[in-house]
C-alpha cells in the first residue's frame, strides 16, 4: 500500500530540506526536485491502482480497522481515496514537480531559498492531504497547512511592496474564511458527535437538522472564498501576480481547486448528499458560478498586467468548474448531471495544466525582461519563440480550441448546461467570448512589432523551458484523446463522487 507515502515522502522532504540545504544550493535544488519526482511516482502508482481496481481505498491511521473495538462507529482518522481523489493527487504532484523544476532556475536570484523549498513541499503536503482525507478535522488541518504555506509563499518576495500587500490581504481574509470552515466543523461535531466524513454522512442522512444546514452554509462560504468565486475573488487577483510565478502556477492551478472546488464537491456530495436538498445547493452554486464566469472573464479583458490577466482568467475558469458541479448537484441522478460533473472534473485537470503553463510563460517573460506590463511586451515572439509557442498552446487550450484539451472539457460543460437550462449555456458562451477576447489581445501583443524593451531579450534556460514543454506536451496529448479520457477516467470519477453510499460503506463496512 503506497498511500501513506503520498504524505510521508513530501513531509519528510520538507523537514529535511533545511538540513540538506547545508550541503549547498545545488544539493537543495536537487533534493526538492527528487522529492517531488518521488511523490509524483507514488501518486501515479496510487492512481493506477485505484483506477484499475475501481474501488475506494481506505487507510486507517494507527489501526487495521477504522471502527473502534466493540463500537459500531469509526474512532480513528481515515484516509479515503476514490478515483476522484487519486486523479487530483496525480494532478497536484505533476504540477508541483513541474513548478519545482522550474523554480531551480527561476528563483536562483532570490535569497532564503531553503525556506522556499520547504514551503513548496509543505504546500504540496497540504493539497495531497485534502485530496485523500476522509476525516473532517483532518481536512481542516490540511487546509490550513496549505493556506498558511500559500500565505507565506505569496509574500515570499518581502522586499517588494506588492508581495507584502497581497500577502496581508490574502492572509487576513483567508484566515477569516478558514474560521468559517472551522465553525462549520464545530457545529457538525456538536450536533452529531463525529468527524469522520463517511459516518457523518450517515448521521446527517438519518437526522438532517437545521444545524447541519447552517454548517453547510458556513463550509460552502469558506470554500467558495478559497476557490475565488466572485464576491470573494479579490484576494486572488492580487495574490497571483505578487507571488513568484512558479507559485502562481501552483496557486492558480491547484490551490483554488483542491482547497476550493474539490472540497466543495466532496462535502456537498459525499457528506451532505443524503441529508439535504441537492437541488437547492446546486442552484446556489450555479448562481455563484454564473457571476464568477462573467465577472472573471470580463475583468480579464481590461487588464494591462499579464499575470493579473491570467489571475482573472483563473477566476473565470473556476466559474466553469463551479457551473459543472452546480449542475451535477441540481440535476443529480440524470445523465445531464453525470456529464456536467465529468466536465467539471475534466476541466479542473485541464485548467491546472494550462494555467500552470501560462503562469510559467509569464514567469519566463518576467525573468527575461523584468516587466509584466503588456504594453511594453510587444513582439516577444521574435526573440523568445519557444516561450511564445508555449503561450499560444496554453491560450488556445484555455479558450477551448478543438485539437487541444480544453475543448472536450468545455464541451461537456456547454452540452450539459444547454440541456439543463439554455440560459446557463448562454452565460457560459458569453464567458468564453470574453476569455477569447482577453487572450487574443495578449496574443497580438506577443506577435506584434518588437518594442525597444524586447530587442535584446533571449530565451530562458533549459530548466525553465523543459517544464513548459512538458505541460505543452501534456496538453497536446490529452487533446488528441479527449473522449477516451472522458470515458475511461472522468465519467467513472464523476460516478464515484455521485455514488455516496459506496463512500459511506467503504469506511463503515456493511453497518
Amino acid at each position: 500500500m503506497m498511500l501513506p507515502y503520498l504524505i510521508i515522502v513530501p513531509l519528510f522532504g520538507a523537514f529535511a530540506t533545511p538540513l540538506v540545504g547545508l550541503a549547498g544550493k545545488k544539493a537543495r535544488e536537487l533534493w526538492a526536485v527528487l522529492i517531488t519526482a518521488l511523490t509524483l511516482g507514488v501518486a501515479s502508482e496510487l492512481f493506477y491502482t485505484v483506477w484499475k481496481s475501481g474501488e475506494i481505498m481506505v487507510y486507517t491511521l494507527g489501526g487495521k480497522n477504522p471502527l473502534g473495538q466493540g463500537v459500531g462507529f469509526p474512532i480513528r482518522i481515515v484516509w479515503e481515496v476514490d478515483l476522484l481523489s487519486a486523479l487530483f493527487a496525480l494532478m497536484v504532484t505533476l504540477i508541483a514537480f513541474v513548478a519545482v523544476l522550474y523554480s531551480t532556475e527561476y528563483m536562483r536570484h532570490d535569497t532564503g531559498l531553503e525556506k522556499y523549498y520547504t514551503l513548496v513541499l509543505v504546500l504540496e503536503v497540504g493539497m495531497l492531504g485534502i485530496a485523500i482525507t476522509g476525516d473532517l478535522f483532518n481536512f481542516y488541518v490540511f487546509l490550513e497547512i496549505m493556506s498558511i504555506a500559500s500565505y507565506a509563499l505569496v509574500a515570499f518576495r518581502n522586499d517588494t511592496w506588492e508581495g507584502i500587500e497581497a500577502g496581508i490581504k490574502y492572509m487576513f481574509t483567508g484566515s477569516l474564511a478558514s474560521a468559517f470552515i472551522l465553525l462549520g466543523i464545530v457545529l457538525l461535531y456538536g450536533q452529531y458527535g463525529t468527524l469522520t466524513m463517511a459516518y457523518l454522512a450517515k448521521m446527517i442522512a438519518g437526522n438532517p437538522t437545521f444545524t447541519a444546514k447552517v454548517a453547510l452554509g458556513l463550509l460552502a462560504g469558506g470554500l467558495l472564498f478559497k476557490s475565488g468565486a466572485v464576491p470573494v475573488h479579490m484576494w486572488l487577483a492580487d495574490a497571483h501576480p505578487a507571488a513568484p510565478s512558479s507559485i502562481s502556477a501552483m496557486l492558480s492551478g491547484l490551490v483554488i481547486k483542491i482547497g476550493g472546488t474539490y472540497a466543495l464537491a466532496r462535502l456537498a456530495f459525499s457528506v451532505f448528499g443524503m441529508g439535504i436538498s441537492m437541488k437547492t445547493v446546486g442552484w446556489i452554486i450555479i448562481f455563484f458560478a454564473c457571476a464568477t464566469l462573467i465577472v472573471g472573464n470580463a475583468m480579464a479583458i481590461i487588464q494591462t498586467d499579464m499575470k493579473r490577466l491570467f489571475a482573472f482568467s483563473s477566476v473565470g475558469q473556476i466559474g466553469y468548474i463551479l457551473l459543472g458541479i452546480g449542475i451535477g448537484l441540481a440535476a443529480y441522478g440524470s445523465d445531464v448531471g453525470d456529464v456536467a460533473l465529468a466536465g467539471a472534473i475534466y476541466h479542473t485537470v485541464n485548467h491546472a495544466l494550462m494555467k500552470a503553463l501560462l503562469f510559467l510563460v509569464a514567469g519566463a517573460v518576467i525573468h527575461q525582461l523584468g516587466t509584466k506590463n503588456l504594453n511594453e511586451l510587444s513582439g516577444i515572439a521574435r526573440r523568445m519563440p519557444v516561450t511564445s509557442f508555449a503561450f499560444l498552446v496554453g491560450a488556445a487550450a484555455i479558450i477551448g480550441l478543438p485539437p487541444l484539451n480544453g475543448f472536450a472539457s468545455k464541451w461537456l460543460i456547454y452540452e450539459s448546461s444547454a440541456l439543463f437550462n439554455p440560459f446557463l449555456a448562454a452565460i457560459a458562451i458569453i464567458g468564453t467570448a470574453f476569455c477569447t477576447a482577453a487572450y487574443i489581445r495578449v496574443l497580438f501583443t506577443f506577435f506584434g512589432r518588437p518594442s525597444e524593451r524586447v530587442v535584446n531579450a533571449t530565451e530562458p534556460g533549459k530548466a525553465m523551458l523543459v517544464p513548459m514543454l512538458i505541460l505543452v506536451l501534456a496538453i497536446i496529448i490529452m487533446g488528441l484523446f479527449p473522449w477516451a479520457i472522458s470515458e475511461k477516467v472522468m465519467i467513472p470519477a464523476a460516478k464515484t463522487l455521485e455514488n455516496f453510499s459506496a463512500y459511506v460503506t467503504a469506511v463503515l463496512g456493511g453497518v
Binding site: 515572439a381 521574435r382 519563440p385 511564445s388 487574443i440 497580438f444 506577435f447 506584434g448 512589432r449
Partner: protein, 329 residues
C-alpha cells in the same frame, strides 16, 4: 470505405479543388473584364501567377517572427483539412454527426491564421489590415452560424442519420418543407448567406482588409514569393469551400439518379455538377458583386452585419422555427 481509400479520395479531391478553384479565379477575372469592356487575362492566368510566385524569392521582413513563415503553411493545411468536411455534391469523406462545428471552426481558423501571419510581419500596414480582418471576422460569422444552425436543426427534425453534419443536406433539402413560411424564411437566409459569402471571400463591399488602394494589400502587405503563393491557394480553396456550403445548403440537388449512375461514376458526375453550381453562385456573389459595387468603410461594413444581416438572419430563423408550429400550413 476503409481509411486508405478515403485518403486517396481525399488527395484526389484536394487536387481537383485546387485546380477548379484556381480556374474559377481565371474565369472570374475574365468575366469582370468583359463586364468592363476589357479583354482580360487568359483563363489560366491564376496558374501562371501561382507558378511565378512559387519560383520567386520570398522576402522575410527584419521584424517578422517565426510565425510569419508558418502562417501560410498552416492556412493551406487548414484549408486542405477543411476539404475533408466540405460537401462536394456527395457526403463529405470524413463526415460525422456534429461536424458542422468543425467546418465553421476551420473556416474561421483560416481567416484567423491570415490575421496572425499579418500581425507577425511587424508591418503597420499589415497590422491595420489584420485589425480590420479581425473585426469583420467577428461580425460576419454570427448571422451565418445562426442561419446554418437553424437550417440544420430544421432538417434534423425531419429525421436524418447524422444530425448536424454536412451530409444532412443530401438527405433532405430545406425547400422540401414547402410551406409559405418556410420558403420565405429560406429565401431570407439565402440572402444572408450570399452576403456572408461575399464577405468571406472579401469582394465588393467587403474588400476591406486587403484594400489594395487604401492599405496597400493590408494583411498580405509583407508577403511575397512562395509564402504569398500558399496564401493565394488557401484563399482560392476557401472561396470554393464557402461557395460549396451555400450550394449544399440551398441547392443540394444531384443529377446522378436521373442519369442512372451509381458508385464512383456517380460521385464524379456529382462533383462536376456541384462545381458548376459553385461557379454559378460565385458568379453572382463574387464577379457581379465585385464589378458593380465599391468598398465600404470598416464601420459601415460592420454596421451592415449587425444592423441588417443579423436581424435578417434572426427573422429567417424565427420564420423557420415558427413554421414547426404549423400555424400556416
Amino acid at each position: 470505405m476503409n481509411v486508405l481509400y478515403a485518403t486517396l479520395g481525399f488527395i484526389g479531391i484536394y487536387a481537383y479543388v485546387s485546380f477548379a478553384s484556381l480556374l474559377w479565379g481565371g474565369i472570374d477575372r475574365k468575366l469582370v473584364a468583359r463586364m468592363q469592356r476589357r479583354m482580360g487575362p487568359p483563363l489560366l492566368q491564376p496558374f501562371y501567377d501561382f507558378l511565378k510566385l512559387v519560383s520567386k524569392e520570398s522576402i522575410i521582413p527584419r521584424d517578422a517572427n517565426r510565425f510569419f513563415e508558418l502562417a501560410p503553411v498552416l492556412a493551406l493545411a487548414v484549408s486542405i483539412a477543411l476539404l475533408a468536411y466540405t460537401p462536394l455534391g456527395f457526403e463529405p469523406l470524413f463526415g460525422t454527426k456534429g461536424d458542422v462545428i468543425l467546418f465553421v471552426y476551420l473556416l474561421t481558423l483560416i481567416g484567423f491564421l491570415r490575421v496572425l501571419g499579418a500581425v507577425s510581419s511587424g508591418s503597420p500596414y499589415a497590422q491595420i489590415g489584420a485589425q480590420r480582418e479581425m473585426i469583420i471576422l467577428v461580425s460576419r460569422e454570427g448571422p451565418m452560424m445562426l442561419a446554418l444552425f437553424t437550417i440544420l436543426w430544421r432538417l434534423s427534425e425531419l429525421g436524418v442519420t447524422k444530425p448536424f453534419s454536412m451530409g444532412t443536406f443530401y438527405e433532405h433539402s430545406i425547400w422540401e418543407l414547402g410551406t409559405p413560411m418556410s420558403v420565405i424564411g429560406t429565401v431570407i437566409l439565402l440572402f444572408v448567406f450570399m452576403a456572408w459569402l461575399a464577405s468571406e471571400i472579401e469582394v465588393g463591399y467587403f474588400d476591406i482588409p486587403e484594400a489594395e488602394t487604401e492599405l496597400a494589400e493590408g494583411t498580405m502587405a509583407e508577403y511575397s514569393g512562395r509564402h504569398l503563393a500558399l496564401f493565394e491557394l488557401a484563399s482560392a480553396i476557401k472561396a470554393f469551400v464557402s461557395a460549396s456550403l451555400v450550394v449544399a445548403v440551398f441547392f443540394p440537388w444531384g443529377i446522378s439518379q436521373y442519369l442512372g449512375l451509381t458508385g464512383v461514376p456517380a460521385m464524379v458526375v456529382e462533383l462536376l455538377f456541384h462545381t458548376l453550381k459553385v461557379f454559378a453562385v460565385l458568379f453572382v456573389s463574387m464577379s457581379v458583386f465585385r464589378a458593380v459595387t465599391g468598398r465600404l468603410r470598416i464601420n459601415q461594413a460592420v454596421g451592415i452585419f449587425w444592423t441588417r444581416l443579423l436581424p435578417a438572419s434572426i427573422v429567417g430563423a424565427l420564420l423557420l422555427a415558427l413554421d414547426t408550429l404549423g400555424v400556416i400550413a
